[in-house]
Amino acid sequence: MNEQTNASQPTAEIENLTVSLPVPGGTLEAVKGLSLSLSPRETLGIVGESGSGKSMTALALMGLLPPGARVEADRMQVGGADILTMSDRQLSADIRGHKAAMIFQEPMTSLNPVYSIGRQLTEAMTMHGQRYDTARTRALELLHAVGLPDPEERFSQYPHQFSGGQRQRILIAMALMNSPGLLIADEPTTALDVTIQAQILDLLKEMREKLGIAVILITHDFGVLSHHADRVMVMLKGEVIETGRTEAVLRKPQHEYTRRLIDSLPKAHSRPPPPDGTALIEVEQVSQSYKFRRGLFSPIRTIEAVKDVSFTLSEGETLAFVGESGSGKSTLARMLLGLEAPKAGRIRLDGTDIASVPDKVRAHLLQPIFQDPYGSLNPRMSVSQIIRRPLDIHEIGTRAERAERTRAVMEQTGLSPRFFHAFPSQMSGGQRQRVAIARALILNPRIIVCDEPTSALDVSIQAQILTLLEGLRGRLNLTLLLITHDLGVVRQMADRVIVMQDGQVVEAGMTAELFAAPTQDYTRTLLASVSAL
């Protein structure tokens, strides 16, 4: 076990850390002059967007920076050990997994798929010469502590037999095997469903108090920090721009960027309810199920993805579907886009049954925006080609007219004309999502179906995209159908909400009313698990 650090000595301390990474044509200073100090039982939140240097700081503390990275600091210690002077061998024997442990963003892929969780837990101790029996006892004890059901029975099971939330619990237990003084959690809940997120954050808090460890919580989400960090450190482009007690920073942010980050957290919107427009989409008792079998000789199974769902979407309104993964909301979207036919029920688009609406007419009525702007744009086409493509398919206008219209929607979506001949690979995530929106708008559709339009983006970019969508909705009188698991987005954008679980509608209502007084338990759980300010 580790020698305990005495209470007066900080668990971790960094003075004037600079990390430079080799990039094509020079070096990039990923972290510039960072200092921090962390006492036992304290949680420090580091917040910033991707590329702000928050993860690099954590990796520097673990001695896990990518090869070629240069580290300079006046002082850097964890649990009394001077990291700067240690070799990789010493770091691996004394720091990693010992004095400092780390959990990562992706619980689904952070466990080795071919070894049992028992082996992966115990090896954290046996690889350093501890007896297997000792390690097993410790592992079971921790699995109990992190709230994994039936640890003894599930000890020899493999990662794929656990859910994402359970895997993150296992990873937390694994990190705590050697009683580290410091636990670094790098976006530990970003990949999890909202209800699970809250459970994992509470677990981290509980472990910190029970075991007296210090925690560095890295996140892009200020909401997470407000409940779980004692102090916050805001990073921008490698520099710490603001640091202080969490409440103080939240109440009175000193730096303009911090203020923007806090403001960009989605807030309740106050839009007058839209006038009762004509019904653009009418869905009546629609169900969808999939039959599949695992192998040639196994029995056919049926999954009911959507069960008996009915709703109406009126012109000019924004309707949000909320639910966790597997709730059937994306299946619903695919049926509305005509990508799948429902097994039962009726869908009418602008008064006509969807089956008898020709593809080209439907395209003028309704266009999609997808979650992943990296995957939904053809990398071999230029921006103007991508945006113009619907006009080519529908044979609308001459070449010059098409180019003219392309420039117009690019301007509407805030895309600089210099991107006209650029390729998606040369653009950021937010810019790509603007291209996707421009492509959706070019045919002047009346409805836009947005499937998780912002969940792949950084928070301040999210806010920009949401603001863009709101602006477009007003100017072009668009009707929006929003599919999301992010209740913050719902509160900012939607007039009405439909909550889904396991393919069924759990609750539906006006956004403000539903947020104020949810009638169903599931909705309450969803709302409670949002890290709101």
């Binding site: 673990m62 061998r89 997994g97 990562f104 952070s110 466990l111 690889m127 794929h160």
Partner: protein
């Protein structure tokens, strides 16, 4: 797991049936077996006599049925040329081929996997380039040429190994190297890319954070995952070597079933060709089955699915 094994075996069996049917039909449509067997100078009566004797005048489905029934009884028919049961011929030649295939597979594994690991551990360095160059060279050199060069240099100029034949284990070393090297490029590249991919995964990062590094990280966390695709390809290559060592066996005058197949085709020994055709195909089916089972053993996601 048992269900998985049974399902795979069932699948292999049904593939085997299909292959036997195709082999049978191909041979009957491509040639007139009686004419082929009778030879060039046979009279019409002679051909008719053979046709009746071997039952080639009966309906095809009946011929196939009879062939299948006797096949499962272990009766593969009788060789026209050697006047011996085909089963005995195969039993005589197969161990030779099996030994050659086994030895060459060992060569492949011993050369390709360490090279692949070395290349992956030092990506885009001189070591990587050298390993890749070896792979490219091995791929570019035809088997028969490498075989002849090996004989010329290592058996004739410097008589270290015997020139040809299969009397002692020494006779197998040169051909095993020649045959084994031909599989090195594919396996080496697969090991390299597999390992590079695995080293970039989240669970390797997590293992590093746990304190793993160097060789322990490689062998206790990365290797098993990286080898999953390699095992599949190796098994198929083994099947290929059992059935396809024709060139190597011919160059080194090794009396395996590859050479037997060539001779039987040349002299039109239909029962032998038909049985070997089916046998070669079954080697592949068997090798694939082996790969599936090995992968299930290595990967719990398959085993416990």
């Amino acid at each position: 797991m048992l269900e998985y094994i049974l399902r795979r075996c069932g699948l292999a069996l049904s593939v085997g049936f299909t292959i036997s049917l195709v082999a049978f039909l191909l041979l009957n449509f491509a040639t007139d077996p009686a004419v082929t067997m009778a030879g060039e100078e046979a009279t019409t009566e002679e051909i008719e006599r053979l046709r009746a004797l071997y039952g080639f005048d009966r309906p095809l489905y009946l011929q196939y049925y009879n062939w299948l029934v006797s096949f499962f009884r272990g009766d593969f028919g009788e060789s026209v040329h050697w006047r011996l049961p085909v089963a005995e011929l195969v039993a005589r030649h197969f161990p030779v081929t099996l030994l050659l295939a086994g030895m060459s597979l060992t060569v492949t594994i011993l050369v390709a996997i360490p090279l692949g690991v070395l290349a992956a551990m030092n990506p885009n360095t001189l070591i990587d380039r050298i390993a890749l160059s070896i792979a490219v060279a091995a791929q570019a050199i035809p088997n028969f040429w490498l075989g002849m060069m090996a004989i010329l240099l290592l058996a004739v100029t410097w008589p270290i190994f015997p020139v040809s034949g299969n009397n002692t284990i020494w006779h197998f070393i040169l051909p095993a190297f020649v045959l084994g090297l031909s599989s090195v490029p594919a396996i080496m590249r697969l090991t390299r890319t597999g390992l590079l991919e695995v080293m970039g995964t989240d669970y390797i990062r997590a293992a590093r954070a746990k304190g793993y590094r160097g060789g322990a990280l490689l062998f206790r966390h990365a290797m098993r995952n990286a080898l999953l695709p390699v095992v599949s390809v190796l098994a198929v290559q083994f099947g290929e070597k059992l059935g396809g060592a024709i060139v190597t066996e011919t160059v080194f005058a090794i009396n395996g079933i590859g050479r037997l197949a060539v001779q039987s085709v040349l002299i039109g020994d239909v029962p032998v060709v038909q049985s070997l055709l089916f046998l070669f195909a079954m080697f592949f089916v068997f090798a694939n089955l082996l790969a599936d089972l090995l992968n299930a053993w290595l990967d719990p996601r398959i085993r416990l699915a």
